[in-house]
Symmetry: C2
Subunit: 448 residues, 2 copies
């Protein structure tokens, strides 16, 4: 591991070379490295928190000058109750996950003495670009080592001191392990993101961990595949047969349990026939949580007809149905039936997570088949879209990509496979349809 | 299906809309469409071959004027023995493959009455850009329909007449099926490739079927993921313990059975201690097939010391070890041992398919673990890297990408998955570590 002021190209090339060694290490060697990282960080607690305090001091000053948001300052703070302990526990959690490397996912006997095997292996070199949270360094270093991938880490400038302190400790810890020097590259120099994004020769996957703007910038400025999502515009379709209390509970949780999350609700589609029967209950429940509703004409009329003074209503514009509010604002639109709800979501949504609330199984199954999103839910909060909640043990990110990994991504998303073919000197010319040619057996073998 | 002179954006948008319907069709509906395509093409044989004859006439003229290669003319010819029949049989072969849509690959009980399922589904809209071979249209249309993906097909100008004729037939055939109009878009207007490559809003995956230059151009000019490979620089490492006759047979097959193929051998790495014992046998066998050897100093010296007058030897330059010759030329380099061979391949190769020839299992396993390629072989010809030979039933292409699909890609490469979550009104706020909170069960369920 090296904390580098080397050029981005040198850092990336070094990471690539290291990745070829890292990919061949045993699970024990990789797990031992995680133990070493954990123990060294635990021993260096005071130094790291002192460095973090220096970052915090500067950030608080910048926030006081109006140059930084208070929420960013909060995200910087490693001393916040439980954060340090969670960071350390996260490393051990990753260590105890099943080894993702070397799993055989296909075995075929092509011919006697000629066996094909598909085996999981690391992707190669990951570039992780993140903003404020310094604990992400430890988390990502652990995921990279566990999955056998080299990683280049580029942190935000607000967390530089914390980043350098944590990096030094991880670096020294890895020096005593089999993980090659160079497998984790920490880039602290500024303004190198454009250079890094051009290094598709060495870098195999970019994982941005930050705000929409960061993700969008990265997606628009590299040929390297990007794993993540820029937008999380989640919708719920409220169908007429849904139970009112259930609908209110799911919608309130989806909207209000963490409004700034990407899996939070942004658009509520209400079946026309449910405007009078279901929407008032839902709107009242949302109002008690302080949610403002931006309604189309029909839904607004329906709510104005109900005796409730606490509602905050506004007229929706077209733009509201393409907006990720990330706050206590919800766009409400009336649709005649399921098919219009599906079309609206497929056209206006971000293909992240969408839900139908209904008592009718056929409606739900049709919705889940037709909506083109990573998560399609029936009677459950959109906020279940999360790697920990899915039981993946860890989360690399949530992807709205249409290839490789989609939805919450666990360690599996950091793996690819290779085909191993073991023969006894077979040539292809001997196989085919003609006379005297051998036929392939193509016999599927058990995955031991 | 529409044969369109619409703008690329309109075609792509129509394909996207159609993809949402196509994704929900049953396997029977998709298979019936393949039957319809097959039967209609069979019935229209004479018309299509007449159109193909017009393309051929123009191409032969262009070839006579030196504007087109003879091999391109050959690839255009649908009337060549067996080609038409193979095209029709290919559609039926695809029809009888297992349905790739709707396979459940993970089931987890998150809680009582809250079940997560991961289900395979189509990617969405494919853009397939191909050059001369007109039969690819039928092949790709069949793959798209089978996998539930919409497709935009852009053919080369040399095959325009054939393309239009086949397209009309497929279009009319699909009109009588449940496959929505617009699911297969055929773009015949010229110079639209840059426009299509900009439509990442609608197009999910680009599959180029053509020469290296086409693939490289596409990879460099789009943000849409590209499935394929620009280069196929395959290497064989000849280790000292290999059987000489076996080595000669595998190397001859890898180099000469189809020199223009991407899975053909381009670089032979010879262990220094095998220069005198193995290389002469191999070189003699290659010479009988007319292969020119471009040797480094050590391997050239070794061959000049052997009594053989038929060898064609030249001095290798550095560039030769980064060249995909696609002809009967082979670069030969001496390496001291396995680790240098691995480093050479990882640095100079194209991560396509590489092979070790050795009698020692430990050497082979180390090679296969450390070489970062889609295919890593032990004692077998590199030319086995092929979807049909792997038993995939069909081949979409061969990918050297590090994510999604790698190596020969079958129907699986045209699929992604979505997570379906079926609940009974669960909210996330009820789950967690605190008092009164529910714990997730995360119980793995059988994949029925």
């Amino acid at each position: 591991m090296s904390l580098t002021n080397a050029s981005p190209a040198d850092a990336a090339q070094a990471a690539k070379s290291a990745s070829h060694v890292l990919a061949t290490l045993s699970a024990d060697a990789r797990n031992d490295a995680l133990t070493a990282i954990h123990d060294s960080l635990a021993a260096a607690r005071d130094d790291i928190l002192a460095a973090n305090a220096r970052d915090l001091e500067l950030a608080r000053q910048a926030a006081a000058d109006g140059k930084l948001s208070q929420s960013l300052v909060a995200r910087l703070d490693l001393g916040k109750t439980g954060k340090w302990e969670d960071m350390l526990k996260g490393i051990l959690d990753v260590r105890q996950l099943d080894d993702p490397v070397g799993q055989v996912t296909l075995r075929t006997r092509l011919d006697d003495g000629l066996e094909l095997e598909r085996v999981t292996c690391p992707i190669g070199v990951l570039l992780i670009i993140f903003e404020a949270r310094p604990e992400v360094i430890a988390n990502i270093a652990a995921l990279a080592v566990k999955s056998g991938n080299a990683a280049i880490l580029k942190g935000g400038k607000e967390s530089t001191e914390s980043f350098v302190a944590i990096s030094r400790v991880i670096s020294a810890a890895l020096d005593k392990t089999q993980v090659p020097n160079g497998a984790i590259q920490l880039v602290t120099t500024r303004d190198v993101i454009p250079d890094l994004l051009a290094l598709d020769r060495y870098i195999d996957l970019v994982i941005p961990r930050g705000a929409n703007e960061l993700v969008r910038y990265i997606k628009n400025n590299t040929r390297i595949p990007v794993l993540g999502h820029a937008d999380g515009l989640c919708s719920i379709y409220l169908e007429q047969s849904a139970d009112p209390a259930m609908a209110a509970e799911v919608i309130v949780d989806s909207k209000t349990s963490y409004p700034a999350a990407c899996n939070s609700l942004e658009t509520l589609l209400v079946q026309k026939s449910a405007l009078a029967t279901l929407l008032p209950t839902v709107a009242t429940a949302l109002a008690t949580k302080g949610v403002e509703l931006r309604c189309d004409a029909q839904s607004k009329a329906a709510l104005q007809n109900t005796p409730n003074n606490n509602l905050t209503l506004a007229d929706a514009t077209d733009a509201d149905f393409a907006t990720e509010f990330l706050s206590l604002t919800l766009a409400v639109k009336t649709v005649p039936s399921l098919s219009e709800a599906i079309t609206h979501i497929n056209t206006h949504g971000s293909h992240h997570t969408d839900c139908i609330l209904t008592a009718e199984r056929a409606q739900a199954e049709q919705f889940m088949a037709a909506v083109d999103s990573a998560g399609v839910y029936w009677n459950a909060s959109t906020r279940f879209a999360d790697g920990m909640r899915y039981g993946f043990g860890t989360e690399v990110g949530i992807s709205t990509n249409k290839i490789h990994s989609r939805g919450p991504v666990g360690l599996e998303g950091l793996m690819i496979y290779k085909y191993k073919l073991r023969g006894q000197g077979q040539a292809t010319a001997g196989y085919g349809e003609g006379e005297g040619k051998k036929r392939f057996l193509h016999q599927s073998l058990p995955l031991e």
